[in-house]
Symmetry: C2
Subunit: 207 residues, 2 copies
DNA sequence: GGATAATGTAGAACAAGTTTCAGACTTGAT
DNA sequence: ATCAAGTCTGAAACTTGTTCTACATTATCC
């Protein structure tokens, strides 16, 4: 089992009371719910507020914009996925195979809720600087998932981290092309497998 | 010089009259102008219409949404860039080096107009299915640029096309992380160089 | 337990993308 | 030259993200 993986969660601002935690949860739930139906456009702030039983102003106090809300929703979902994936680690022999398997597994999970995936990914790539911290958290979570799948003995080298970054890039972008109907699932699979070859290329074991 | 590269331009719907062509041009110019100032948010449809000397309804007849407009603006700019890049082809020995050089050159061009780049790229990744054809055109243009830089003797193999797809993914995504301030230029450079290694990996010459 | 600051509510108001519509202007065919 | 079809204009209306305001509720600290 790999070394690090500290709490990749939130940086814990002022601690929330129980009712506040509950509100936050209701909001995220409503957001995911609406997104699952109609994707990005269906997540309308007034509707989220109503479905969560919260005033519009309150919603904006918790999440300062629609994009913030959806990125937080993504954090939430990724957290789930991370723990789920950990339960059944990938079986391949090579790191590259394991990463590809893990990503395709994640991909199939998203396939089951394509509208939700659409909402989250669109928000993620549309996010501007004001959402950087939150997007960064998502990015760190994704990195953690990939590093986990690699199952390294030692901490990753700089080269390997570069490869992981590129894999993340490919993962996001491939997801987008699939979501907007410009690439088939088969195509995505090929792209993922292609980019995962970089892992072998940067593996120090071969020295 | 590589083989294909047909007109990667527009699929030429009903031909436009001269005045219409002029209007279209004025609109695209206004769009780029406004984008250069304030990025995505500064491209406001009413302002574009006014700056182009055209009624709002007309603007919407030419470009059915803000995203369509900005993606078309990107097509336009990419076209320029393609011809510019062709004038001074990259000098490296290996295809990977040439592609990396070309992309970094393109990158530096975008750096000079970061706001414009922001507007175009945000539109591109935010585009939903209704913009697929236009986004596809942009994608084909990018592919053409990369294949050009590779300077292949023979038509690319399926493997090479996969590599090019992954490079494109990385290029887009890296651009986004840079634009949203989450990655430095040095970081982007490393990512580009890393992904370009895939080219050597898929080169058939080594057989 | 009461003062007070923070948080939440309802609802109006504002901003920018998009739609609509009646009327004026172009264009192309006859 | 004229008529019909298609285009353009100007202005208003509509939608949805976001902000603001006045008031009610809750939390915190003494």
């Amino acid at each position: 089992m790999s070394a690090e993986v500290k709490a990749v969660t939130t940086p814990a601002s002022p601690p929330l009371t129980e009712r506040q935690e509950a509100r936050r949860r209701r909001i995220l739930h409503a957001s995911a719910q609406l997104a699952s139906r109609g994707g990005f456009d269906a997540v309308q702030m007034r509707e989220v507020a109503e479905a969560a039983g919260v005033a519009l102003g309150t919603l904006y106090r918790y999440f300062p914009s629609k994009v913030h809300l959806l990125v937080a929703t993504m954090q939430d979902q990724l957290q789930h996925m991370h723990t789920t994936l950990r339960k059944r680690p990938p079986g391949g022999d090579e790191p590259a195979a394991r990463v590809a398997e893990t990503l395709m597994r994640a991909f199939r999970a998203l396939q089951r809720e394509p509208q939700l995936a659409d909402a989250m990914v669109r928000a993620l790539t549309f996010a501007d600087r004001s959402v950087s911290p939150e997007v960064d958290t998502v990015s760190r979570l994704t990195t953690a998932i990939i590093l986990d799948a690699m199952g390294l003995e030692h901490p990753p080298t700089a080269e390997q981290l570069s490869a992981v970054r590129v894999i993340e890039h490919t993962w996001h972008s491939a997801l987008i092309t699939w979501l907007s109907g410009r690439a088939s699932i088969a195509q995505v699979k090929i792209d993922i497998e292609t980019v995962c070859r970089l892992i072998d290329l940067t593996s120090p074991e071969k020295s």
